[in-house]
Subunit: 230 residues, 2 copies
């Protein structure tokens, strides 16, 4: 079994490019609530906001022509769990995270959400340790360097309904119509069937919410339109 | 009719406690999208994040014992439209905001959301103008001074379902049960009827979503429990 409490924090500091004055803050940032009352939840609250601001500022400069909607989508992509889990992997956080014995047995310390939360907490720990937004900014920028280099085009982050609407608009076509055809199943497992209409074409889709079913139907419609070069 | 373009920006700077090096940034922050392509929407994106971080940091220090959930609720209360509109009023932004002629006729420049967005944009404009997070922090702290003094207890910001659950828990009672009794009405105007059960007591409520109906039923139940001193 892993004994993360003996992990060499100096190595993590080295990867981070930051040496803590008060290393207790780093330990707290690595401590999951299953381990101790003195855990990383409050740090995560602050770190989440810091990440949001730093990424907003970076994207604001990197994409001087992007509108607010595109910037918001790009930021959401950068601060969501999947990206944070990749950063946690870059930092090899699973060797450092401190979880309770139950979580340790079940491999909870490897869960993406636990690792993503720890990344946010570490950002706050750095900020509190050196009391400098600018220094924290530089560390976060370095963490995100490769993800910012591969920054996707904002349009691919648009949801299917928006993509479909813009696709039709660009061809001078009308808006797609969505109709909820039925709701069935017990309360905890409802199924929503939705139909998406574009001209004479209809695609139906089923999902656990109306919103999801509409997105699915829009995606199918979009694929069909592309396939037939419409 | 108001001619905000002739408004004395030096007076606003005075109220803000900040003098712009590049006053174009302040003008942009005050410009609604109905007025110009060169409007405050991108600034609002950045300012929203800055406000979130600065308030997170302030609350983190002001409430050293608060858990993540309480901090999140307090922050949401501070950065939501209602509080921002109060700040806009403190700054008398309605005299400075620049909207298109249509909005001007209909009084759109007085809309709370328009004014709240401008507050966020001004925060970003200050940050970009002086390139200092710390200076921006000080201005935001001053803006929020009186609202932070009246900071509510985090518990009053809890939603009714959470309040009810904690109330019952503190009395060693079981959890309330919610049941969706019916959904009716056309797609654009659905009505959800939900029942909240606590022991033998039942309260039903109707609203436009299941979530809203549950909150309403929980609120009624809570009021009844308080009334009967249960």
């Amino acid at each position: 079994m892993v004994d993360n409490e003996k992990a060499d924090l100096a190595r993590l500091e080295n990867t981070l490019g930051y040496t803590f004055t008060n290393r207790d803050l780093l330990v707290q940032a690595l401590t999951h609530r299953s381990k101790s009352q003195h855990n990383n939840e409050r740090l995560e609250f602050l770190g989440d906001a810091l990440l949001e601001t730093i990424l907003s500022d970076l994207l604001f400069s990197l994409r001087p022509e992007a509108n607010e909607g595109d910037l918001t989508r790009l930021r959401a992509n950068m601060v969501r769990g999947v990206t944070l889990a990749k950063i946690a992997d870059d930092l090899q956080l699973k060797h450092y995270i401190r979880v309770g014995s139950g979580e340790l047995r079940t491999g909870g310390y490897q869960r993406d959400s636990t690792l993503a939360d720890a990344v946010e907490a570490i950002v706050a720990a750095i900020y509190l340790d050196n009391n400098s937004f600018d220094a924290t900014y530089a560390i976060v920028e370095a963490m995100y360097q490769k993800y910012l280099r591969e920054l996707p085009d904002a349009s691919v982050l648009k949801d299917a309904k928006t993509q479909l609407q813009e696709y039709l608009q660009s061809r001078g076509e009308g808006r797609p119509e969505y109709e909820l055809l039925s709701i069935s199943g017990p309360d905890h497992d409802k199924q929503f069937v939705v139909c998406c209409r574009v001209g004479t074409h209809e695609s139906t889709a089923t999902a656990s919410s109306k919103k999801k079913a509409e997105q699915k139907a829009a995606k199918t419609t979009l694929a069909l339109l592309h396939e037939f070069g419409m």
